[in-house]
């Protein structure tokens, strides 16, 4: 196997064998057959010289750059980072050297040169309030930019919960009128990679899939790749046996917490969260939230921010019960009123009761 990528990797001290192992791991993570790993490796290794690499345009909208941080930093300088050697990242405000008009030119040049073929990555939500004035780049609202750039894209990747569902900006009361990419673009294949931020390997896995097979991986009904979002955190959690045994940490500092018991009662949203944290982990497989002692927030699910509180168990009320006291008072009032009414009826019946005498019977 030869190609520009293999040579680049060799220069960086990464052997062909390591690269093959990486592709095989990626393929198995995505539940693809073993042969897919080799296909991926060949497709990526055969990627042509820099000028012909698949173009990727990355648009940042209402976001915190956490998604970019996640992708670029957490796995750098492992092989995860090197996968960028097979694509041509033509526009990424945070990473690119160009700024201002030069950046805009780069964007338009990439769009023109790769019309209909480039992959568009979006992170951040799109504000619709005040005609989109809440977030503008180069004098254009995010809505305008998205529509313009999406037109020529082969596919769109909505990176992070903001792009996938509206995310934090959309949290109640959604002051900017934030929406997701899929709320606006209806005529392009869209893949959602939610998470706040998403796991880096999910991103690279999807990219590798796209490069190898020219298509997006199998998606669930929320547009997420099933390979990574097919199972819940709870079902893959190493603390699951404690849940089944009924052993729960009650506070973050009790014996249960120290023994690593289940965090359900401390508000863990693992049971309703589909993501790969429990298996892939974070920071190069170092750890993940539950392993570090904190419940899952459910960041890869829609509206996770408005789910009733991070520290409330799923079976607890999402909000305080406000009507209960009033309802109880009404219940008592109605009960007492009915009783009084019934007593009145009985009294009236007693009063109206006429005694029957012998004379009456003889009539």
């Amino acid at each position: 196997m030869h190609g520009p990528l293999i040579e680049t990797l060799a220069r960086q001290g990464v052997t062909r064998r390591t690269f093959m192992k990486y592709c095989a791991t990626l393929a198995s993570m995505m539940a693809l057959p073993p042969a897919a790993g080799r296909a991926m490796a060949e497709a990526m290794a055969a990627a042509p010289s820099a000028s012909k690499r698949p173009s990727v345009i990355w648009l940042p909208f209402q976001e915190c750059t956490g998604c970019t941080e996640s992708i670029t930093r957490s796995h750098s300088p492992t092989l995860e980072g090197l996968i960028f050697d097979v694509i041509s990242l033509d526009y990424q405000e945070t990473l690119m050297a160009a700024a201002g008009h030069q950046a805009e030119e780069a964007l338009h040049a990439a769009m023109k040169a790769n019309e209909g073929k480039y992959l568009l990555i979006v992170d951040g939500s799109i504000p619709l309030g005040l005609d989109g004035a809440y977030s503008c780049i180069g004098g254009k609202s995010n809505l305008e930019t998205l529509k313009e750039v999406a037109k020529g894209a082969a596919a769109i990747v909505a990176m992070g919960s903001c792009a996938a569902y509206g995310g934090l900006p959309r949290a109640n009361p959604n002051p900017t009128g934030a929406v997701s990419v899929a709320d606006i673009i209806k005529d392009k294949p869209i893949i959602n990679i939610p998470g706040c931020p998403p796991i880096p390997v999910v991103m690279t896995g999807v990219l590798a899939h796209f490069l190898t097979f020219g298509s997006l991986p199998e998606l669930d009904k929320l547009g997420r790749p099933k390979a990574f979002y097919g199972e819940t955190i709870h079902d893959r959690c190493y603390r699951r046996p404690f849940y089944d045994q009924g052993k729960f940490a009650k506070t973050f500092d009790d014996e249960g917490a120290r023994n690593g018991w289940c965090l359900f009662e401390l508000g863990c949203k693992g049971p309703i969260t589909h993501n790969a944290c429990a298996t892939v982990k974070w920071n190069g497989g170092t750890s993940w939230p539950v392993e570090s002692g904190h419940g899952c927030l459910g960041c890869s699910e829609p509206d996770f921010w408005d789910g009733g509180g991070f520290y409330k168990a799923l079976s607890m009320p999402a909000n305080p019960l406000k009507m209960v006291a009033g309802a109880a008072a009404v219940g008592v009032a109605v009960g007492v009123a009915t009783s009084v009414l019934n007593r009145g009826k009985k009294g009236a019946a007693r009063a109206a009761h006429e005694k029957t005498t012998l004379a009456d019977l003889e009539k």
């Binding site: 045994q245 829609p302 409330k312 168990a313 079976s315 999402a318 219940g331 008592v332």
Partner: protein, 219 residues
């Protein structure tokens, strides 16, 4: 409304509404029933009435002589599903957590595998009870809409809860929301149907026993 919003609604406003209507109904009906009062029996009691009442509360939990043989399905399946329902509702850890958050009371739960087993047995017993009601002409004849309806609203929370835990039919989030919604329907329906026996059963037994004792029927 997506799955998460649905779940948050049933955990939030939906729960508020259901618990409120439940409390309203329970307080209303308890006050109404016990507020009715009874005419004082002026006859001299033939038997000390108090113990009779308490005795009846206990005794009527057991099948009457020869009845167990005559209609075993009613008794065995009936006991099984009542007991099972009680265990599943009050000894499943997430349920205890809910009760704790509403009332502050809590107690240890059972491991979820036990709950799972009890749930299956309870579901089976409820299906048997329904089949019995359908297949026995007399039972079918005396059954009204309320009987079928209350069976359904009792059965659905149990079934959806079990499906949710087992991840069957619908994704867990949706099934959990459907389960909570079913429980809320049950809560709203309970005070206004025959399901109110959950609150009145022992009171009415005590009353019957006391009246019978007063009349000389020693039980």
């Amino acid at each position: 409304m997506n799955e998460m919003q649905f779940l948050t609604w049933v955990r939030g406003q939906g729960l508020d509404l259901a618990v409120s209507l439940f409390l309203l109904g329970v307080l209303w009906r308890l006050l109404e029933i016990y507020g009715l009062g009874r005419k004082k029996d002026l006859t001299a009691p033939r038997h000390a009435s108090g113990a009779s009442g308490w005795h009846t509360v206990f005794r009527r939990s057991l099948p009457a002589e020869s009845m167990l043989k005559k209609s075993p399905v009613t008794y065995i399946a009936g006991y099984t599903f009542h007991l099972g329902l009680g265990l599943v509702v009050f000894l499943f850890a997430p349920h205890i957590k809910l009760i704790q958050s509403l009332t502050g009371l809590h107690w240890p739960g059972l491991p979820s595998q036990f709950i799972d087993l009890i749930a299956i047995v309870t579901i089976a017993a409820m299906v048997v009870v329904l089949a019995d009601r359908i297949s026995k002409p007399v039972k079918r004849f005396i059954s009204t809409f309320e009987d079928w309806f209350t069976w359904l609203v009792t059965f659905l929370p149990l079934l959806t809860g079990w499906l949710a835990v087992r991840h069957l039919l619908l994704p867990y989030t949706s099934m959990l929301a459907v389960h909570i919604l079913c429980v809320e329907i049950l809560l709203i329906v309970l005070p206004f149907t025959k399901l109110f026996h959950a609150f009145t059963v022992f009171g009415s037994r005590w009353y019957n026993g006391t009246v019978n004792g007063h009349k000389g029927v020693v039980v």
